[in-house]
Amino acid sequence: MSSRLAMLLSLIALLAAATPAAVGHGVVDKNGLPVVPGFPSQPIRLVVYTSPGGLIDVTARRFARLAQEHAEHPFAVINRPGGGGIVAFEEALREPADGHRFLAVTRSNISKMVATGREDLIDRLHWHAYVMDNAHVLITNAAEGPADWDALRRTPGDQLWLGVDIGGVKHVSGVRMAETVGIDMRWIPYASGGEAVAALLGNLGTVYLGNPRDAQTSDRLRIVAVAAEQRLPEFPDAPTFVELGFDGLEDELIWRGFAFRKEVPEPIRDWYTAVIRKVLDDPRWQEAWAGEAVNLRYRDAEAFTRIVERDRSEFRTYLGQLGLLPDAQESHGTLAALGRGLGLYGAVGGSALMLGGLAFMLPRTRHRQWTGQLLLLGALGFATVIALLMSIHLPAANPIDPVGAAGIPRLWMLLLLPLIVLQIGYCLRAPPPEPETQQTLRLLVSMGLFIGYLLLLPVLGYLPATLIYMPTLIVYLGYRRMPVIAAVTVSWLLFSELIFQRLLLVDLPRGMWW
């Protein structure tokens, strides 16, 4: 789908929005969905902000499977991991507001946006539908660790609470829970819930804070407290915090829902509302979630937005207390100033100047045969020193994390620097290497063509840019059999379009017109 066509379609959709007769009087299609002229005109992409696997990915895939049936239109789940959702949201905001791309969102996204100072994204998205949530629970290894709540509270000293993501929604929940019930805990973040559960099974921590379904992993795991108003039907023996005498933790949960660009026209939003309602009412959707302690409850955009705002304010407070807001994380002082802002630019500029000087001088010395390697080592050395300077403004080590964020990078850099010096010394002492026969100009032109091709992509799009690039470089490299070149180029373009774009729905770079 070209972006021009997409723009045209969104224009049509906007016109449709301005023509109440088209959709405003309950015109529905055979599936009972509001008719929106020209929409949907291409597969709908449901964007998940994590890698494949995981609960939000499963939610999106279960939803897409049923939505596809109800709308009789393809729904494809695509994964755009990065930045806790920010990469996916940025991409969605760059796409045309034609409604063909919507986002699977969770409460974690709000904490991430607050923690990274990207709250603007919250305001730029339309929080369309809240579809489910599940309570956070505390799970213990009942076979080897505390078997119930009383045993957990009696566990002496700092407890190790296993979880994921520093500054994430579960971490904040953990802090609130520990504060409310008066337990001293250390949060031990793992890369995934699975790894944390494995550690709990190995009795490496006191408790794991997660979703109720995590407790189903093994008979040895037991939920000792639930952050909900009422007990979960799937775990009738697990008490709630309220029953245990602690109020105020009933909303410690993770919600999941859908969002898209604010600019998506109202009729398309209504179309989505209808599809979402159909899926939520589908008995297969309810069966799929049965037994997983999930509350399937729908909230419309207005209610959802209120929840998002409440969460934003709560995360601001707690992340501030934890020192995890962007301003609080940086060290200050004269030395730290060298690693950022003007100091950093100065260091980079100075290094570039020195490298330039070396590049000018070295070919005029008896070490000219080593010029390339010495420049490489020099560049690595300067980059390492700059990174060392930058590491000064990273948060300092503390009693909980005695190594700190800067410890390991500095260790690697301090090991790297002497080796660079050693290798430079070797180059200066060793006899010059045999010169190789090289076609440097040929390479530089080829690299230039390749980089030119990459720069053309956002302008022309993948297909036209590749159509120009492939034959040009092949011919430049010296291959002149035109029929073969044409066959290879066309076959590759067809392969890319059919296999990647159409079959696997791996989007190819789009240009301004294509």
Binding site: G53, R80, G82, Q329, L422
Partner: protein, 500 residues
């Protein structure tokens, strides 16, 4: 259990399941061979195609893709030095060297047989010992994961060859690059220059494609290398049984290492491949051939890589915990098909578990057959004019890097890594240690800090398993240097005597 296993085999020995296995393996090989499509992405892309299938058939297809793609990554590594997966980097070291010597058939044949055997070994271990292995794996303290990562890094001593300084520089560059992004233990952004796309660090796939595939293209163009060395003049027959028989011990040892490493959640196939490559070189009678086209090197890496598939399935089936990125997707696929992964599967759906076991066993034979048949086709890549091949590789690199997140940023990172790799290669710096550092850096750092956060510094001296593993890692670092030091001492003594 044997009865159930035969039942499972009976279930899959029907036309539809067999066709599903073949389709899974073929698709998997093609996915793995495309730089940019990792096994986890490949399995995820195919999940929607399983909606209309029965859960058993769906899982058979997805497991087939997992097995096929774990092998497929080595094909492009061997043929064009563009490993499709991080673990195939190790295969490419000797595999591509063999191709350059005009022996791609030898490399491909060795790789497919080792891969198939490793997969078979891993599956048998999965069937026989999944429960005790999973129980042992969960007891691994972060300090032991750290020791594991160090053990993997110790391979550097093996990869170093003559110039250990360059190899160490390359690995440390990888380790420094691995620290870019959000620090998992404090939530702080490190060295990202406020670039959003760097908040999760450098994506491994674009880095891999750039460092290996693009740098190879740049180097080839620069050297005017348009023909494979010795192509057409060297006899390159498909290996015979005796060739594989000679490699039996390295195959067996590497399969065991790959399987065991795969069992530990988060450790991954790459560590297994590097460790088994290092050990293969250490125990080899022909150490000098490693890095220059050693079939033992190809075998070590491939057997470990495929063995890790069975290993990674252990925590998935025994505990419902993903052992790798791909098994995380398989768990998702199970849930989509309304199955609860974990021990309850053995109780509620035993016939399905044994059908999966049966399918995994049969899939290894299918892999062998398809791989051997397809290998003759892959060899023809060597006959494509290099001018055309180079251009195709650059466009493949573009799609591969772009497909990871639909971001041109990743494409530019890929090109930057390509130029960096070309410069490194030009000056004799090995590239595999950069990937070693990139992959193991995060594992080493997070587990080191997590271990200290949990139990203090003393944990590295008080846990017997940690102490033993750290000692082994240290020995692995030092042992390869011993003969060199001895040789130098002898030379010094000899020159003293001469002088006297």
């Amino acid at each position: 259990m044997l009865e159930s296993l035969f039942g499972g085999l009976g279930t899959v020995l029907a036309l539809l399941p067999l066709l599903t296995i073949v389709s899974g393996i073929v698709l998997g090989i093609l996915i793995g061979a495309m730089p940019g499509l990792s096994p986890s992405m490949g399995v995820a892309l195919m999940v929607p195609f399983t909606y209309s299938m029965s859960p058993t058939l769906a899982l058979i297809l997805l497991v087939g893709i997992y097995i096929g793609s774990s092998y497929g990554g080595s094909i492009t590594g061997i043929m064009v030095n563009a490993p499709g997966t991080p673990s195939a980097v190790v295969t490419a070291i000797d595999g591509y060297a063999l191709t350059k010597k005009g022996q791609p058939s030898l490399a491909l044949g060795t790789s497919i047989v080792a891969s198939s055997f490793g997969g078979m070994f891993g599956t048998l271990i999965l069937i026989g010992f999944s429960v005790p292995l999973a129980a042992a794996a969960v007891r691994f303290h972060p300090s032991e994961y750290f020791a594991f990562a160090l053990f993997g890094m110790a391979t550097i001593a093996t990869l170093a060859g003559d110039n250990w300084i360059k190899a160490f520089i390359a690995m440390l560059v990888g380790l420094v690059l691995a620290t870019v992004g959000t620090d998992a233990m404090s939530g702080t952004e490190r060295f990202t220059f406020d670039v959003l796309e760097l908040s999760d660090g450098f994506m491994l796939i674009p880095a891999l494609i750039g460092l290996f595939a693009l740098s190879e293209v740049f180097r080839g163009i620069e050297q005017g290398d348009v023909r494979i060395e010795g192509s057409g003049s060297i006899h390159d027959p498909w290996p015979r049984f005796s060739h594989y028989w000679k490699l039996k011990w390295v195959t067996l040892r590497s399969s065991a290492i790959g399987t065991l490493v795969g069992v530990f959640p988060g450790a991954g196939a790459t560590i297994g491949s590097f460790i088994s490559y290092g050990l293969a070189k250490r125990f080899s009678r022909n150490k000098e051939a490693f890095g220059y086209g050693s079939p033992e090197g190809v075998t070590a890496s491939e057997a470990a890589d495929s063995g890790s598939v069975g290993g990674a399935m252990v925590p998935l089936l025994a505990l419902g915990i993903p052992g790798s990125a791909t098994t995380a997707v398989l768990i998702g696929a199970m849930m989509i098909h309304d199955l609860t992964p974990g021990p309850q599967l053995f109780v509620r759906n035993p016939e399905m578990i044994y059908a999966i076991f049966g399918a995994m066993l049969i899939a290894q034979f299918v892999l062998l057959f398809v791989g051997l048949a397809g290998g003759r086709l892959w060899v023809k890549v060597a006959h494509i004019p290099k001018e055309v091949l180079y251009v195709l590789i650059t466009t493949m690199a573009l799609i591969g890097a772009f497909a990871v997140r639909n971001a041109m940023f990743d494409v530019f990172c890929c090109v930057a890594f390509g130029i960096f790799g070309w410069v490194m290669r030009r000056h004799g710096f090995p590239l595999a240690p950069v990937i070693l550092g990139l992959v193991l850096g995060a594992i080493a750092e997070t587990n080191f800090r997590r271990a200290i956060m949990m139990d203090g510094w003393e944990v590295f001296f008080t846990r017997p398993v940690t102490v033993t593993m750290l000692a082994l890692a240290l020995l692995s670092f030092l042992l390869p240097f011993m003969p060199r030091l001895r040789r130098r001492r002898l030379q010094a003594i000899a020159s003293d005597r001469q002088a006297a």
